[in-house]
């Protein structure tokens, strides 16, 4: 069941078009991510959902009703700010109670719900502290608690993990997923970090230049990117530009690179071919020949850069364990056609 429908939303700031005719649907109860580099329009979309921005055209429906008609403070939508935006003059419990007080609930109920959510996020002992007495991770939890205690139809999270250090980040990632399952609220997370999006979300929308590039579950997005941008942005990828032939992609000065070509493909057109580093192997009879530029060890796996004549960027290859080749070695590379993704 569709919870939010974004229909043809466009928003311009002077010369800049932040959102260009964007349409997408968000399902009830799912964990949805808006992924893209800075300036792609994801934050503008988030702010439109929260009500801090108005689109120039298009409509946004929530449960089939017009969301844009409501002022921010009347929307059943809550936002966890990137900076958390905790009220510095209020204690943790007052911060959390703030939204409930606006609903004119009975004092006892407010107290009960605040205590409950404090328990959920594991900050029962910090109720009377002020935000500046909390650690980064604790503040993030308070910000989250403040938003979910309102039991919104839709919870928006703006770069929820970006301010945390690596270890806390991993913890919070799990925590967010657990919470989402527990409370059953629809989450929309905005992030520029593809790993974060993939580990959290049920579905990801990739935004680029104000438009939606692709909406898919993480695995599909990774394995079958549909645009050159998605292929490049989501995970590491080797991209080759060439002409589509029946057997693969012919790259000038390099040769024919193998891939599965669909029967209805328009042969002879210019296309891109994407091959993930982990899908490339060192072989004796490869399609690419080159010289090893550099190898680096990442513990468990190694990344090898290879200069291939005719290809502008070095080709990246991931190998399990220590690097099987040394710097300066002449190598040949190959892959299974099924692992190569054709991009229009």
């Amino acid at each position: 069941m569709t919870l939010v429908s974004v229909r043809g939303v466009t928003r311009r700031f002077g010369e800049v078009t932040a959102l260009d005719d964007v349409s997408l649907d968000i399902e009830q109860g799912e964990f949805f991510a808006l992924l893209g580099p800075s300036g792609c329009g994801k934050t503008t979309l988030l702010r439109i959902l929260a009500g801090f921005e108005r689109p120039d055209s298009g409509e946004v429906l929530l449960d089939g009703a017009d969301l844009l008609a409501l002022p921010p403070h009347r929307r059943p939508v809550n936002l966890m700010f990137q900076s958390y935006a905790l009220f510095p003059h209020l204690s943790v419990e007052k911060n959390i109670a703030y939204g409930l007080e606006r609903e004119r609930l009975a004092k006892a109920e407010i107290r009960e719900r605040v205590a409950e959510v404090l328990e959920t996020i594991g900050l029962g002992g910090a109720a009377r502290r002020r935000p500046d007495q909390l650690s980064g991770g604790q503040r993030q939890r308070v910000a989250l608690a403040r938003a979910i205690v309102k039991r919104p139809r839709l919870l928006l999270l703006d770069e929820p993990l970006s301010a945390l250090d690596k270890k806390v980040r991993a913890e919070m990632q799990l925590e967010l997923k657990r919470l989402q399952h527990e409370v059953g609220i629809t989450f929309v997370v905005v992030t520029h970090d593809q790993e974060e999006a993939m580990s959290l979300a049920d579905r990801i929308a990739v935004l680029h230049g104000g438009g939606v590039e692709q909406v898919d579950p993480p695995v599909a997005l990774y394995e079958r990117p549909r645009t050159r941008f998605t292929a490049d942005f989501v995970g590491a990828n080797n991209l080759f530009h060439g002409t589509l032939r029946a057997q693969g992609v012919e790259v000038a000065g390099v040769g024919l690179l193998p891939c599965d070509v669909p029967a209805d493909a328009a042969l002879g057109t210019a296309v891109d071919l994407a091959v993930r580093p982990e899908n490339i192997a060192f072989t004796d009879a490869g399609v690419l020949r080159g010289t090893v530029l550099d190898t680096s060890f990442y513990g468990g796996q190694s990344r090898v850069s290879i200069a291939v004549p005719g290809v502008a960027q070095p080709v990246e290859v991931t190998a399990a364990g220590a690097s099987p080749v040394a710097q300066g070695a002449e190598v040949q590379l190959g892959w299974s056609p099924a692992h190569a993704v054709l991009l229009p």
């Binding site: 929260a50 009500g51 801090f52 002022p71 921010p72 403070h73 009347r74 939508v77 809550n78 936002l79 700010f81 900076s83 958390y84 935006a85 905790l86 009220f87 510095p88 003059h89 703030y98 939204g99 606006r102 609903e103 002020r130 935000p131 500046d132 503040r139 403040r146 938003a147 309102k150």
Partner: protein
């Protein structure tokens, strides 16, 4: 080598701190100390001090007459401060939300009148409020009044004069407090269901309270101690603490009593500063965005 190093360590603070602190000692601490000590001595016949201890100066200040003057001054300075706040807060708010280019211009425009002489600014109101003045002629021409209103030489004229003199001192700290306020806090409040009025009362106002109090100190304290505006615009109808202090020193030549009256000014200043410091601690906006 070692000895020169050690010597340098002792000379440097002396060179940097010495002159300034010595100057403050001579021209601030000693003078204030004198004023403080004068409060317990007696006046000389021709002014000056007779060094015989007395508590009379303090019992005199508790006289209803002087208490009335004090209360009246506090009332006038208080009304001035409230008006400055009522006018200054929305002004500062609008300035803080202006685009950067207009912001600078608007700020300069607030301060610019400050650059003409303080007495001339007060004089302008004599011209405006006089019974033949601009305000009365305008009201007369519009047919709103038959007889000129008595505007000058009233408490209202004093309040307007003080407000005119010190309004920029209210706008500037308010502006900097509002400017520093994280706009996301307002959004967060709206997002949690608070309308504009509630957001202002629960978030904006408490977080700008230190600025509000700074502005109030900046307006209230000089208003209380001003003697020129009550003299020029009050027409001698009404006396404020500042006039009393001035008169004790320059007319009545009763320095001890003047010192006691001046002490009340200092006491008010200290009280207000303490309130300000408390608010700054309580409603500090620091730390959250670290």
């Amino acid at each position: 080598m070692r000895t020169t190093r050690r010597r340098r360590l002792r000379v440097e603070p002396l060179v940097l701190l010495g002159p300034g602190l010595a100057y403050l000692l001579v021209f601030l601490v000693v003078p204030l100390g004198l004023v403080l000590s004068y409060t317990v001595f007696q006046r000389g016949r021709f002014g000056g001090i007779v060094y015989e201890a007395t508590a009379e100066n303090f019992t005199r200040v508790a006289d209803p007459l002087y208490l009335d003057v004090l209360l009246h001054s506090v009332k006038i300075a208080g009304i001035t401060t409230l008006l400055a706040l009522a006018l200054g807060y929305p002004t500062a708010y609008v300035i803080a939300k202006l685009p950067a280019k207009w912001k600078t211009l608007a700020l300069i425009a607030v301060v610019l009148p400050f650059w003409t002489n303080f007495l001339i600014r007060t004089y302008a109101w004599i011209v405006l409020l006089n019974s033949q003045g601009v305000v009365n002629s305008a009201l007369g021409d519009l047919g709103l009044i038959d007889e000129p209103l008595q505007l000058l030489y009233t408490d209202g004229a004093i309040v307007i004069g003080l407000l005119y003199a010190y309004l920029p001192l209210m706008v500037l700290p308010l502006y900097s407090a509002i400017e520093r306020l994280d706009p996301q806090l307002g959004e967060a409040s709206a997002n949690l269901g608070a309308g504009p009025v509630r957001t202002f009362l629960s978030v904006t106002l408490p977080l700008t309270l230190p600025g509000v109090l700074t502005g109030c100190v900046f307006v209230f304290v000089p208003s209380l101690g001003n003697f020129v505006i009550p003299e020029l615009l009050g027409g001698g109808h009404s006396v404020m603490v500042g006039n009393l202090v001035r008169d004790q020193f320059l007319k009545a030549r009763d320095w001890p009593f003047g010192s006691v009256l001046a002490l009340t000014l200092i006491a008010v200043l200290v009280l207000l500063l303490m309130a300000q410091a408390w608010a700054a601690r309580r409603f500090s906006g620091e730390g959250d965005r670290a």
